[in-house]
Amino acid sequence: MSLSMPLSSGPSAAQILLEALNSLRMLGRRSLLALLGIVMGSCSVVALLNIGGNAAAQSIAIFRNLGSDTLVLQLPPQPTGLDGLPLRLSVETLGRQTPAVASLSPVMTYGAAAIFNGRVGNANIIGADPALFEAARLNIASGRSLSEFDRKEAYAVIGASLAQALSLPDDPLQPGDQLRLQSYQFRVVGILQEGAPGMLLPFNANETLFIPMEGMTRINPVPQISHVVARANSAEEVIQAGEQLRQTLAQRIAGDAPVTLIFAQQILEGMQQQTRTFTYLLAALGVVSLIGGGVGVMNVMLMNVSERRREIGVRLALGARRRDIRNLFLVEAVALTSVGALLGAVLGMAGGWGYAQLSGWAFFLAPGALPLGIGSTVLVGLFFGLHPAIAASRLQPVEALRDE
């Protein structure tokens, strides 16, 4: 053969895109309707992902207050020591045997009426070691915490809400005041800061009166240790610390009733798992509406292709290759969905913000929401645009031109 085949080449990407946008403009109302479907789909994916993310952050924030290094051990009811007497624990000895634990305190619980200047409040009484304030992250608002030197004293630290309940505007309860528990007078040495009600701790600190463990016998003749609250050296060591404590405690308790270990991370992880499932569910709902939008795009593109058969024929006659025709329609579909994805993302963020405002949550941009929302929308456009585009590219020039 004396003459070689000519090389084929096509228009540049910018040209293809420009032509696609122009063509979409010409499609007018019909592409607007398809756009609307895509906007709704993209909007719901972005909004739902963001709402899910914010909901997760909100519930995790509640647990974060506890500190993920806190752990609680629940002892069996009426624990008995190896000597047959009610269980007693030495914080010092326990601390030596559990190197991963930073601070710990046994906890005794009792309920009694607290009376201040004739006003009565229902107090949850906790008898604990002074180390409890550090182990459970209890912060003092005024006065001071209980100390090692208070063990034999009738001193108390009071929770913020309980203090409030016993106060009058002109007669507030202050450090130094005397409280009556049954027949004993306790001196209030400190008032706690108001804190989020911890879901991990066996008490609500706001409603509680803390007294030295040694003083519990004054109001409860048979005090029992119900829990041990501890804090690990760090969040990474919390599981190790929990295990050390559980084993040490199990050795000191007669019988084989189990010691249950609860730590914040455990709850946190369960919580995260749950919200993740919730987010996926919401995202799946968004994807369903996105697919609805995708079908709309396919519909408008198929109509577009069948209306422009003659144009396809002309372009083929002028030297367009199959891939040029395919790209022509594919770029149109993707351009349409990209515009829809961006509009939907803006609307979706607005929707997520509005929902957070209504729910009283802190709004923030969930990390996956925008890329996942926009990405999945463009993928849907590509997927549903592919069929019409390939159908267009498979037209034979003579058939396309014959069409009137």
Binding site: M1, S2, S9, Q15, R315, R321, P397, L401
Partner: protein
Amino acid sequence: MDAGSGIGMLENNNEEQLIQLQHIGKHYRLADKTLHILGDVCLRIAHGESCAILGSSGSGKSTLLNVLGLLDLPDTGNYHLNGIDVAQASPDQLAALRNQLIGFVFQSFNLLPRLSALDNVALPLTYRGIAPRQAREQAHAMLVRVGLGERSEHRPASLSGGQRQRVAIARALVGKPALILADEPTGNLDASTAQEIMALLIELNREQGVTLIVVTHDPLIANRLARRVEVHQGLLREAGAA
């Protein structure tokens, strides 16, 4: 003419012959019947020739034009365009051959309604990978050549039939093809405009040496071209020189 001598001619005349059709057949199947559209067509057209293809409707002349324009492939026979065996070409290569060797002029103009006259003319160049600015410059020069330099930004809808066909001719010529294939180019035009369009086509054939093939059923149009062939019931015969 037998097949052996035909191949011999091909080898000898590659440089002169633009089109060589040898025993081209095309048929369609329709409900167990085979319809022979083209029977055994042999045709040679040299570079620079002008030729009319005559025939009544249904004679197969449109199918012949589609085969010549690489819009349809024959079922039997060989087609060499500019020395290239069309049967060996891939779809992409066929597209490139259409783009570089052939310019189409259709009866119904087939301009893209959404593009300006200038962009319509520039379209074949973009399928050649020529940058838009350069393509538009060449397209404008070609519009000036067909007398429509002032109207390059008009959409086809705001042009008259004659003007639209001039745009279509500019589009066919902009890629400097070896062959213009015109399918009833004056079929939708009034008599005087038809004369102008035919005059333009013939002038281009004479001045630029581009090979011109016009499909028509009108003997008056056909008579303006140097050579006439007639398609009748799928067969081709020379209709005599002008």
